[in-house]
């Protein structure tokens, strides 16, 4: 996950309590980390919300993966926001979301996007990982946990 998650954009405790608010907050942290111009934030948020409108990306077990494509990025980027209270996300299992993995991919690179989705689904099925992640209070704690996860890019 350290291949695509931007350390400086990780949010250990989201302020937002709505789907749109969480998406806006996380795109904002990617912008602050230098990946978008301030003027591009609205377009990225709008595109992610348009995708949510086609079907929620809440995959269950408290995890959501809002995403979109955006021209001009050097590579797929992502961030993670934890919610202490839970966010209504119309997830497939009806549960509120406590882990929001937001991805923005390069339009011509489906491979990294598929592998990022695979990685996030895999960790979402790992009870021990989820419990450890939800117990994190700081960006540093989250990052050290992420650094220890296996990287499916290295798989055959």
């Amino acid at each position: 996950m350290k291949n695509f998650l931007i350390r400086d954009a990780i949010v250990p405790a989201l302020l937002a309590t709505t789907k749109e608010g969480a998406i806006r907050e996380l795109v904002g942290t990617l912008q602050a980390a230098g990946f978008f111009r301030p003027t591009e934030v609205d377009a990225v948020v709008k595109e992610i919300l348009r995708r949510e409108g086609l079907g929620s990306t809440g995959i269950g077990r408290g995890v959501a993966i809002p995403h979109s494509r955006f021209e001009g990025l050097p590579q797929l980027i992502g961030t993670l926001g934890l919610s202490k209270t839970g966010i209504p996300f119309e997830s497939i299992d009806g549960q509120d979301v406590r882990m929001v993995f937001l991805l923005v991919s390069k339009p011509d690179q489906p491979g990294p996007h598929l592998h990022a989705l695979e990685t996030i689904v895999r960790i979402s099925e790992d009870d021990a990982f989820i419990n450890q992640l939800l117990a994190c209070e700081t960006r540093e704690q989250i990052w050290s946990l992420i650094e220890g996860t296996p990287n499916p890019w290295n798989r055959a």
Binding site: L54, G55, T57, I59, G60, I65, H67, I92, P110, G111, H113, L114, H115, L117, E118, V121, R122, S124, E125, P152
Partner: protein, 111 residues
């Protein structure tokens, strides 16, 4: 003679014995979240159960997340297997859905 009787009284093809087909992913973006969701929704409309296999990885057709774990790019060859009473009806439809060129094409199949 006994063979003929067994055939006449035996289960319909696909009822207990799995039916299989090879399917190639044609969507340029691969089997991403949206097609996975729509395939799972389509598969749930049938009585039969199905799996999609990519080498050593196997996904239930009714599970969006298991389908996402296949991380199947365009051009990936997958083994589709369905078992159940409506397997013969479902097999070609599910194969077509998995091989759809785009989410939009798949969406039309769900209507």
């Amino acid at each position: 003679m006994s063979v003929t009787i067994a055939m006449e009284n035996g289960p319909l093809l696909g009822e207990n014995n799995p039916l299989q087909a090879m399917v190639v992913i044609r969507n340029p973006r691969g089997l991403h979240m949206r097609p996975a969701m729509m395939i799972a929704r389509l598969a749930a409309k049938y009585q039969c159960t199905g799996t999609l296999r990519k080498q050593d990885r196997k996904a239930s057709l009714r599970s969006m997340t298991q389908l996402m774990l296949l991380a199947a790019l365009q051009g990936t060859e997958l083994e589709l297997e369905v078992t159940g009473e409506d397997a013969q009806v479902a097999l070609p439809i599910l194969a077509k859905a998995i091989a759809a060129n785009s989410s939009e094409d798949l969406e039309l199949m769900l209507k």
